[in-house]
């Protein structure tokens, strides 16, 4: 047992650059697939409501604006969102995606609400391995790569 075993290490660090970052002034970059906040590409949404069904935090609402014109409104309550990206994974048409922002605080929970009003899209579904269309399929997950995800051998 040595006395002051840490001393050389401490003195070595006295003249080294600090390991910490001067945060609000300098920011670190987030990795490629960072799970930020979900957002919608309204032109792709076919209103299958798979995201509403699978969202663990019940943060997504899809309201019908006009039945005959097929206009719908999606609300993402970011105050409830837990940023798990399950909606992105459940979406059969890649209409939902995650951004990479991490400074998302707001003064009011109403400022955190994101809304999109759109006409229901008619998009060809991407092929599923089992051949069944995704909204009807009882799939908890698919082996598709997540939106913007890494390469995946399958």
């Amino acid at each position: 047992m040595k006395i002051a075993a840490l001393l050389p290490e401490l003195l070595r660090h006295l003249f080294k650059k600090p390991a910490t970052v001067d945060y609000p002034f300098k920011k670190l970059e987030v990795p490629k697939d960072f799970r930020g906040t979900p957002f919608l590409h309204p032109e792709k949404c076919i209103v299958c409501r798979a995201c509403v069904r699978d969202c663990p935090a019940e943060a997504i609402d899809i309201l019908t604006v006009n039945e005959t014109e097929k206009t719908f409104k999606m609300i993402i309550h970011n105050d409830r969102c837990i940023h798990c990206a399950q909606c992105v994974e459940s979406c059969p048409t890649d209409a939902l995606e995650m951004d990479d922002l991490y400074e998302i605080s707001a003064f009011s929970r109403w400022d955190l609400k994101a809304e999109w009003e759109f006409v229901k899209a008619v998009v060809k579904l991407k092929p599923q391995p089992s051949g069944t269309p995704a909204p009807a399929a009882p799939a908890a997950s698919s082996s598709e790569p997540p939106a913007g995800g890494g390469s995946q051998p399958s």
Partner: protein, 323 residues
């Protein structure tokens, strides 16, 4: 004119104003060194290099709500921080930083001032204990009991260690001791062991890691200061800073050859030597972990006190045979 000069001394340099500015600077220095030793940044943004951070902390505390516990002794509770700060500042008066000429001593340099200084430096401990006791909280009371237990640990080795150079110089006057070692700088090496003991004891006196037992936040919340808030806590923090400067000054005067060379050169000597002592204190803080109160008493009586006696013995031998 002489009275004006004395007032200038008392209020500006090296008196009250200088003391406050310099003690906040010393806190900044201590925090910065501590942070850099741990690969962190330390104070960065308040003022240039974060120099104003301790001042900002104190101003912030001054603005906070001031709470006195219902069951506490109100007068005692409120007056202790002020007395504490006054005592710590008084200690500074006795340091030989005021260009004392040995022939015409000013009233605050007299034979025996080293003893007075040591006793004045012991008083803050009593203040802490009284503060803890008068705030009538479990955690403060435990903290207060620990303050006194700690006192028994470090006080004797500190006195013995400081005694060494005084015996060697054959004087009880700080200015004369400093002067003696300025004439024979090599003799300072003989006191190396005593200097290290004194640094450790000063660390204990200032209640910093590894001796921060009286206010170990993970055990007894704020310890002595649990019930203190706002202005009173700010005064206590300032008092600890001032005590650090005074303690470092004492060590610098006794073990590092004092502050020769008039007002300006003496000032440079003072800053460099006290910062050196504070640097050692910072390293000691970074390199150790907090120890238990029984381990402190054990450590100081088993190692520190005998080593201090050994140092004294060496000095006596030196004085008897060499000088």
């Amino acid at each position: 004119m002489a009275i004006l000069k004395t007032f200038l001394y008392l209020l500006i340099y090296p008196g009250f104003l200088f003391l406050l500015v310099y003690s906040t600077f010393c806190e900044w220095f201590d925090r910065k060194v501590f942070a850099r030793l741990q690969n962190r940044m330390g104070p960065t943004h308040t003022g240039r290099f974060g120099l104003l951070q301790p001042v900002a902390d104190i101003i912030k505390l001054l603005a906070k709500e001031d709470i006195v516990p219902e069951r506490a002794d109100r007068k005692m509770f409120s007056v202790l921080p002020v007395i504490g700060l006054a005592i710590a500042s008084t200690a500074m008066l006795l340091l030989p930083v005021w260009h004392f000429s040995l022939e015409r001593p000013s009233p605050n340099s007299f034979p025996g001032d080293i003893i007075v200084l040591l006793y004045i430096l012991s008083l803050p401990t009593l203040i802490f204990f009284l503060a803890a006791w008068s705030s009538t909280s479990f955690f403060s009371e435990i903290g207060g009991a620990r303050v006194l237990t700690l006192l028994f640990g470090y006080e004797v080795p500190l006195f013995l260690a400081v005694l060494g150079p005084a015996i060697m110089a054959g004087s009880w006057r700080l200015a004369e001791i400093a002067h003696f070692f300025q004439q024979r700088p090599l003799l300072l090496l003989a006191n190396l062991l005593g200097f290290l003991i004194a640094v450790i004891c000063l660390q204990a006196k200032l209640e910093r890691t590894p001796f921060d037992i009286p206010h170990a936040e993970t055990e007894i919340v704020g310890g002595t200061f649990t019930e203190y808030s706002g202005k009173k806590l700010a005064l206590f923090r300032l008092m600890i800073d001032v005590e650090m400067v005074a303690g470092a000054g004492l060590l610098a005067a006794v073990f590092l050859g004092g502050f020769p060379g008039g007002v300006f050169v003496g000032f440079v000597h003072f800053v460099i030597k006290t910062l050196f002592v504070i640097f050692l204190l910072s390293i000691l803080r970074a390199v150790t972990s907090r120890i238990r109160i029984d381990q402190v008493v054990n450590f100081s009586w088993r190692y520190l006190a005998p080593l201090a006696v050994l140092q004294l013995f060496i000095i006596l031998l030196l004085k008897g045979f060499v000088l």
